[in-house]
Assembly symmetry: none
Homo-oligomer: 222 residues x 4
DNA sequence: TATGAATGAGATTTCATTCAT
DNA sequence: TATGAATGAAATCTCATTCAT
């Protein structure tokens, strides 16, 4: 695969970078490979061998750094959640008028899940397992509540300005936005097949996104 | 393992007539056991042994009747879809005013999935597998389109009576109702844990159902 | 073991004996192989592969019948204890004068362990594991207490006849006989090496047995 | 794994003098940790990682100082034997009347093994491995024969004084004392479980010690 | 002397499926 | 139609040991 790279390594008289020896990088590489494997095949379907194969390290290192397949899976879950929360922070919702902020957040959420389907898939997989792995994570809740705070702020502003309903619960709103955004990812295959519906063309996705934004707008507007 | 028992059965002069040997009953029993096992543990997590253990028959019979674990899984999927479509037909939406028909359908859908979570779970599991098993079913689409027809009829009536928007696509509406209803089942564990939200108490469920009906009502109303 | 039985089944026009299909025999074969492997290599040193190789069945059957390496090991322990207790019953101590009964039992115990070192080895191995596997056995104590009963009877007779001490505790005596008999098996290698002592020649063994009988005789005599 | 810590150490201008780097101390620490690990878990059950974890050094040092797990185990065996022989020398048996000397030695041996069970455990473990590791030690026999000499001297004195039998072989006597003393350590779990006997309370131990001393006394007395 | 990172070989266990009657 | 026994292939995990600095 990377014969080029290998060549480079053996060049020069400095014996050089020959093998990784970089814990952080190895860990990150494993995590990245695991996110893909788990989201594509589920906890039981994922193969530790496959994860290792997507890496420059080997199977043994997965156990060295993560202890077990399950603990790796928990790390993957945490990482996937962390990423969407970080992406959300780039939105700067505070700088937008309330209505537009909600619209922006809705569009972002829909787009994010469509373009990064891993989290959505991991989440439903974890629910098949009744959430017992996620519940082992101590930190998961702490960093996720940021999105609820952000929504709450926007709703407060909107209420003050009289442009948004006063009786909207931020968690409820987040649930709705999530449900409508995730569904298109987590149910695309069955819904497409069963109802003979194009779920994946650019037009179909754009059309659905518009619809979702519309649903949310009507829901929050006074 | 239980050799004693076996001995007892084959000994004695009482011949083979003793048990009814009802093929249909065996098949139905296997299917019922499989629905539970697959919905609880996923396709990979499900164990043929466990399915057999939930039955009065044995493992070999599963292969005799269904050929393979995968084909049994497809049969399970079809059966679960068939059941909700049959339940929907009891609603008699044609006898209700359009707005009320939509509300009734929404409440039914939400309740059905909450009380019969197997279909919801099977569907997300199947999507993890990119819907490749469902797509093997020849009949799946045929009997499922009934719900789209039913919604289309209601929307047409609503438009004619001027109480519902004219530009609502029935598939789009079904997708929205499904998304909001399924989410509460398929994401209850993670959402509850991550956002510290009660998802399961009677009050929480009733409150969410009210919200979902509200969202849909605002969405379809002129 | 019971080839006779098997023959009976496959005779007539039904073809051939090709593969076992005899649960009891498979189980017994595995158990016999496991006794040797565990007693020779310990719980950790024993290899499931090696046990299977000593069998006409395969590795998978070990899990089919015993569940795990540990549970097989417990079955092995139970079986080894059961065998010595059964052998003891052939001694008919009740038919011997008390002093001779004790002597006979001592000689038997010493010989048994020397000729069948598996139990002795299994026992020390199990003690390295702090007896946690044996303590999982429900039945172990029940059938082992027979030896204590037998000794108690002899001691009672001896006391009545005035030929044996009245204050000997049967468990204490069994412990002493066991200690002296087992030591020659469980410590033969180190004791031989460290103290440059022949522990294995027929003469050495006979001499030690005589000594042990002497020790016990002096101990129980009035 | 603890990268932060490592950074701190190699950073800064404080040079390498910071830690004493006492080779002898490291070696002794490893040996002490290994004695516990091997005696608690056996040769195969012991983990090099665990031994390192019981140390202030790391796994690599074990290989640096001892070469391999097996050679470390041999070192452990030698060390354990050396310790009991040194302890015995404190007894000053020569200063006691012969009968009392034997009694003192018996009590000491019983107590020593009960309070320091490592040697007893290591010895049976080594016997499971047919003594092949111990036989590699060149020195083991040389320093162990001291106990045989000591016993021989006492027996000679006792015979001359007419208080002890003339026909007692010192190795045989040591074997008997060892067997009775070690048994209580190496078989405590199984014997306790199988025969429902308290083996560990202070009273039980004291009672058994008394019994052992009694057995030995009757054995050596004229 | 000291240490975290890395690994190959091999161990136990799992599981869908088939055999033989 | 029914069933216990059997199995190959492959999965997860373990562990002593070495690498590279």
């Amino acid at each position: 695969m990377d014969r080029q790279l290998k060549m480079k390594r053996t060049n020069g008289d400095a014996p050089a970078v020959s093998r990784p020896r970089d814990a952080e990088r190895s860990k990150a590489e494993i995590l990245a490979a695991a996110i893909r494997e788990f989201s594509e095949r589920g906890l039981n379907g994922a193969r530790v061998d496959s994860i290792a194969a997507r890496t420059r390290t080997n199977k043994r290192m997965i156990y060295y750094y993560f202890g077990s397949k399950e603990r790796l899976y928990v790390a993957v879950l945490e990482d996937a959640y962390r990423k969407i929360r970080e992406a959300e922070k780039q939105l700067r919702l505070d700088n937008l008028p309330p209505g537009e902020a909600i619209r922006t957040l809705t569009e972002f959420t829909f787009d994010y899940h469509w373009r990064n389907p891993q989290l959505a898939k991991l989440v439903v997989i974890e629910n098949v397992h009744k959430g017992k792995n996620l519940s082992r994570s101590k930190t998961i809740s702490s960093f996720n509540l940021s999105i609820i705070d952000a929504i709450a702020k926007v709703l407060r502003r909107g209420a003050e300005e009289g442009v948004l309903r006063r009786d909207i619960d931020p968690v409820e709103l987040h649930m709705t936005v999530s449900a409508l955004s995730l569904f298109h990812v987590t149910n695309r295959y069955t819904f497409g097949t069963v109802f003979r519906r194009d779920m994946v063309s650019d037009e179909a996705v754009a059309q659905r996104k518009k619809e979702v934004v519309d649903i949310i707008s009507r829901y929050v507007s006074v």
